[in-house]
């Protein structure tokens, strides 16, 4: 990769004669202007060194210009600085020629010169080389350079205001990671920048329960309260998104992911008997109504019929509760479908990121249980119903 980059730059980078960046300088008008005032700096990437007296000029202006640019290599740092002057004044484009010249200058410069040159270059140019210079500065202990790198990568991810599905996910992730480093180092403005970058990426803006999805997406798991309700929302979300994903994209749902999900859901499923008990008053009410009906003339059915009907109602309630728990909350499901609509594909970077984050969240929650609140010392024995996976370790 690097080899390709460097091989690519070696020849054209130094081909300063008439590159696209210098077309203006190569136009006849520019050449005439040059001829008229040879002492003026030109709109070339490398500035013109003065021709020493007694040295013959070349007849062809392009040749003369190229020779002078090569002669400027006698002082590479000054040549790079002057080339950047030209770019800053809008008289040349930052291109491969500038990069090659400044690479040479940086290689030749002493530490102080190199730091100055690098700072100016990376402020002026957006390129992979400039990103590398930001990284050099950041690794060298300059905290603000992490923020600079974050902004650089953010700009590389795509123009401001672009549809966030069109952004380059890796660059955006890199920008966030760099901004996070800046935040950790206490760089001013870094926290705002990080929040902005996260808003730029987050695919579920405006969804119901957005803070929950945001915390999962950005892996701030410790911000999520571990409650049965949250587990149901997350379960609904996961099942919603995974249903669509596995329907459209075979292989997205892995054995490991399913296992983690099952383990995560186990305490929720363990709630089923409890919820059924909660539903019992309703069952009792219905049963009492049936009994009253029976008394009011449906004598043929007798007590057996009433009990049978009661059991039927009880089982219906139990099934309802179990289904509600198994499929998770409908808010969660909706958000899961919204995620799929937003990222288009679970295999898209942001879709994969959410699925990865969910898997991590399940692992993060491994061995934790909302059924072990400190307030109730004798924990209710969670009877794993058939087909349910329980924590064996508990």
């Amino acid at each position: 990769m690097k080899a390709a980059i460097r091989k690519g730059h070696a020849l054209p980078a130094r081909a300063v004669a008439c590159s696209a960046a210098l077309l203006a300088a190569c136009s006849p008008a520019a050449q005439d202007a040059t001829r008229a005032s040879p002492a003026q700096p030109r709109a070339a990437v490398s500035p013109a060194a003065q021709v020493p007296p007694g040295v013959s000029r070349f007849d062809d202006p392009a040749t003369e210009r190229a020779v002078r640019q090569l002669e400027a290599l006698a002082r590479p740092v000054a040549a790079c600085q002057q080339a950047m002057d030209a770019v800053e004044r809008g008289r040349a484009d930052p291109g491969e020629a500038l990069e090659a010249l400044c690479r040479t200058a940086l290689a030749d410069a002493g530490d102080a010169d190199a730091a100055r040159l690098s700072a100016r270059y990376r402020g002026l140019v957006r390129s992979s080389f400039a990103a590398e210079l930001w990284a050099v500065a950041a690794l060298g202990g300059d905290g603000a350079a992490w923020l600079g790198l974050a902004r650089h990568l953010d700009a590389e991810a795509g123009p401001a205001g672009a549809d966030n599905a069109a952004l380059d996910a890796a660059s955006l992730a890199g920008a966030q990671a760099a901004a996070q480093r800046a935040v950790n180092l206490g760089v001013p403005e870094a926290a705002d920048e990080l929040a902005r970058l996260q808003d730029r990426e987050f695919p579920l803006a405006g969804a119901r329960l957005e803070p929950l999805w945001r915390a999962i997406y950005f892996r701030q798991f410790d911000r999520i309260a571990d409650t049965i309700d949250n587990r149901r929302h997350v379960a609904g979300f996961t099942l919603g998104v995974v249903d669509i994903c596995s329907r459209w994209e075979v292989g997205v749902r892995t054995v490991g992911f399913d296992a983690a999900l099952e383990t995560y859901l186990a305490p929720v499923r363990g709630q089923v008997p409890g919820r059924v008990v909660q539903a019992l008053p309703k069952v009792g009410r219905t049963l009492a109504e049936s009994a009253a009906e029976a008394r009011d003339g449906m004598a043929g059915r007798g007590l057996d019929g009433v009990i049978e009907q009661g059991l039927r109602i009880y089982h219906a309630a139990r099934r309802e509760v179990r289904n509600a728990v198994a499929v998770g909350s409908s808010d969660g499901r909706h958000a899961g479908q919204q995620l799929f609509n937003s990222v288009q594909s679970c295999r898209s970077p942001r879709g994969m990121k959410m699925l990865d984050a969910l898997g991590d969240y399940f692992r993060f929650m491994h061995n934790r249980s909302p059924l072990r609140p400190q307030a109730q010392p004798p924990a209710p024995p969670s009877q794993p119903s058939p087909g349910t996976v329980a924590h064996r370790q508990e």
């Binding site: 070349f58 690479r103 996910a169 296992a259 099952e262 994969m352 064996r392």
Partner: protein, 212 residues
């Protein structure tokens, strides 16, 4: 045998130059071929001045070819001789700068600053590609290929988003160059799915299909 086409080519170039000034545009390319041919010849034959060809060689770092071409120039006018001296001075300038950078690259390598050494080696080779010939830069070239291989190994883990591969490759690259900016950038870009040193392989959960 080999001389015949070369002479014919030279004659053609000269003829077209006499006949049509517009054909001058073609001349540098042809003469550049010629300069490469003289590179291999023992004694360079006299030939017309071709600054564009020499400049192309200089810009590509082919200092030996540029120098050989310059020595073969016929310099009728005093101006021509002066221009040749100017270009020869350029060859010297590039050669000295390249040598200086290579010496600093050696020093970097001895101080185990691999990325800087490779950066300086690259800059030196861009100025004078003959430095790549053994044995001058053998150690540096080997170091460069080690660094590139380490970076490539990391880059290969990224499309499949393989965290275990990433852990291993980054550890190896860190051992080689602890503060490699290219590696830092790769790691940042993988941050959506990879956290250094975090075992992402889930422990199999008993009683589920993953524990089979």
């Amino acid at each position: 045998m080999a001389d015949t086409p070369r002479t014919a080519l030279l004659a053609t170039v000269l003829a077209t130059m006499l006949v049509c000034p517009a054909a001058l545009a073609l001349a540098p390319a042809a003469a550049s071929l010629q300069s490469r041919a003289t590179d291999t010849a023992a004694a360079p034959a006299a030939m017309p001045a071709d600054p564009a060809g020499v400049l192309a060689d200089l810009q590509a770092g082919h200092l030996q070819a540029a120098e050989a071409a310059l020595h073969g120039w016929t310099t009728a006018a005093p101006d021509d001789a002066a221009r040749r001296r100017r270009l020869l001075a350029l060859v010297q300038l590039q050669r000295q700068l390249a040598a200086r950078l290579l010496a600093r690259a050696d020093a970097d390598l001895q101080q185990r600053r691999l990325p800087q050494a490779v950066e300086r080696l690259e800059a030196a080779l861009a100025l004078d590609d003959s430095l790549a010939q053994p044995p001058r830069a053998t150690a540096l070239l080997a170091a460069r290929s080690r660094l590139w291989q380490a970076r490539d190994a990391v880059a290969r883990c990224m499309p499949p988003r393989d965290a275990a591969c990433m852990d291993q490759a980054v550890r190896a690259a860190h051992a080689l160059a602890p503060r490699d900016p290219a590696l830092a950038l790769l790691a940042l870009q993988a941050s959506a799915w990879w956290t250094p040193g975090q075992q992402r392989r889930p422990a199999p959960v008993e009683g589920t299909t993953s524990s089979r």
